[in-house]
Symmetry: C2
Amino acid sequence: MTDLPNVDQGGLSWLDASGEHSDIVLSTRIRLARNLQGHAFGARARVNDRATVLERVRKATETVPHLRRAEIRELSDLSANGRRVLMERRLVSRDLLGETEESTGPLSSSGVALPPDVPLSVMINEEDHLRLQALNSGLNLRAAWDLVDLLDEELGQELPYAYHHEFGFLTSCPTNVGTGLRASVLLHLPALVLTKEIGKVLQGLSQMGLTFRGLYGEGSEVVGNFFQLSNQTTLGKSEEDLVDHLDRMVRQVIQYESQARSVLMRDASAVTEDKIWRAYGLLRYARSLSFEELMNLLSGVRLGAGLKLLPGLRVYPLNKIMIFTQPAHLEDAAGRELSPAEEDAHRAAYVRSILSTEGRIFNDEGSDDAPTESTG
Amino acid sequence: MTDLPNVDQGGLSWLDASGEHSDIVLSTRIRLARNLQGHAFGARARVNDRATVLERVRKATETVPHLRRAEIRELSDLSANGRRVLMERRLVSRDLLGETEESTGPLSSSGVALPPDVPLSVMINEEDHLRLQALNSGLNLRAAWDLVDLLDEELGQELPYAYHHEFGFLTSCPTNVGTGLRASVLLHLPALVLTKEIGKVLQGLSQMGLTFRGLYGEGSEVVGNFFQLSNQTTLGKSEEDLVDHLDRMVRQVIQYESQARSVLMRDASAVTEDKIWRAYGLLRYARSLSFEELMNLLSGVRLGAGLKLLPGLRVYPLNKIMIFTQPAHLEDAAGRELSPAEEDAHRAAYVRSILSTEGRIFNDEGSDDAPTESTG
């Protein structure tokens, strides 16, 4: 994308599968909700409040170390597709886009600040005045917390946060009051789904104060066996406790998933291998793919990569496929709007291009070729 | 197969896609039903009759030019799997195997004579004393008729056929009385099926005195969009008329199929291409395939080869896949019995081996590789 030339990897460094357990954990995210004293927040914020908040953040980027040289993008300055690209990269939330039944675009003075060299983003005038977010590859809660905590401290020295001595940080929605913290980890749990243990696991996590969502956060469905696991409460515990608790739980889930993978390979290796290679075959050659089908097939192939059944395949290109086959990314790459049929065709073409390049690097040359693809 | 070392291409020369229209027509078959005077035939034939018939045919191979050097195989001398291999190659009928509810093997003195160098076979003591068959690649009714007619004449000089001056050749089943001729053509009609015109076409053919069956002849279901088209009547017309009539009708059907293929490419090229490449992807990588699924996928890939959408792929290897992935052929290659799950795994492995070799020859090297396959 040409929209973020100054941001490291276009804001996608969390995608590179460099973090711990990245065969099972796609990414770690921690966000803090903050509001500024003296300005109405949430639904009560007026145009004036919002404009002032944006201005104050803009000013802060001159002095706050972690925001220095950050690009501030006002959402109304971007095309509708450009905004969606940011959302698909998980740099801004769906809410910030302002695409609701009542509205077709962002509210005034909505924006995002993206530093060039650290995996941070600050959403401005979302549900709260500020949403500070750190986004890392793999399971990396401690690093994400340290980073966002530092930014929070630096920013708090410039901007007067709304804080109550008893409740903690004040937020637009009461569920965020207290630490304002939500830590979440995006997990790929295909084996727990295949062995039908996922329900039990999620139930247990819910009893431990955790909640799960789909790929796009609140209200989104689970696709491709990706589960976003996060803390439910933000009040009454320290940030470190919340983060440590989630970390312990996630490690437990990773262990369950690993065990389920072993069980699959022990009790149903033929069926599992067949399933994985079929998914690979379809991704490799299909001429049309919906995003949902893609995610389901990708889930199989990702499992295959994790189980070393597709030994030439790295996780990073698979992660890339997830991001770059989303609708706004496909339109961005095409440089124009795409009809639904065109979108599915472009998606399939992108997947083929990645898988054939990926194959070429690791392939036992010549043993596994295909007929020449028609270019007509 | 080691069973037919002296027969050209193991009796599979009809498979090599050398004949006319071989992208649509797999093969042409003409058979003549004959019985010998002085011996009861059909269900009334006793062990003695059958033994004498076999002996007389054996003797005839010494003098009849087209049977000279023919191998005569008595079915009871073959293993059950060896018999099924012959059936899967369409050199003998299912009936000759004698695998009915009452019986687990062939009746006494059942046999087949296979000349080494011409695509002929003579079944002995099937429903009739003799079934003379010529089997050719592609659409080739005239050549098949000439060949089987010659054999019939030669054999008739040695053996006294049961013949009635009014009815013609006498046969066990009244539907064969007269010429005793059945000419059939095995057609691959995927586009007529996809465009849902097949019903209308088959209905029209039925009004023209033709009938259709599946891959294995009478009573077998249509799989993989292969239709075996043949004459219904054998009485009251000359052999040449029957053959010419079928030839005209088949050419008409080929034209319908070609038109339907053009329509598909005009109105639904994206969907068709996607379908074909998906079929290819599954065949290329699946680890387990039932014969029925294989045939359905192969039908798509065969259509793709015909439409030049899979330009590296020849029809001959696809024909080979059809034959060598049948159960008896898989067991024959494995040298042992296979469980159903093993059979599906061996089938998939065979398909992969053929498609990867086939791809290698025609492939734009390096553009389309896959991850190294696990050999574990």
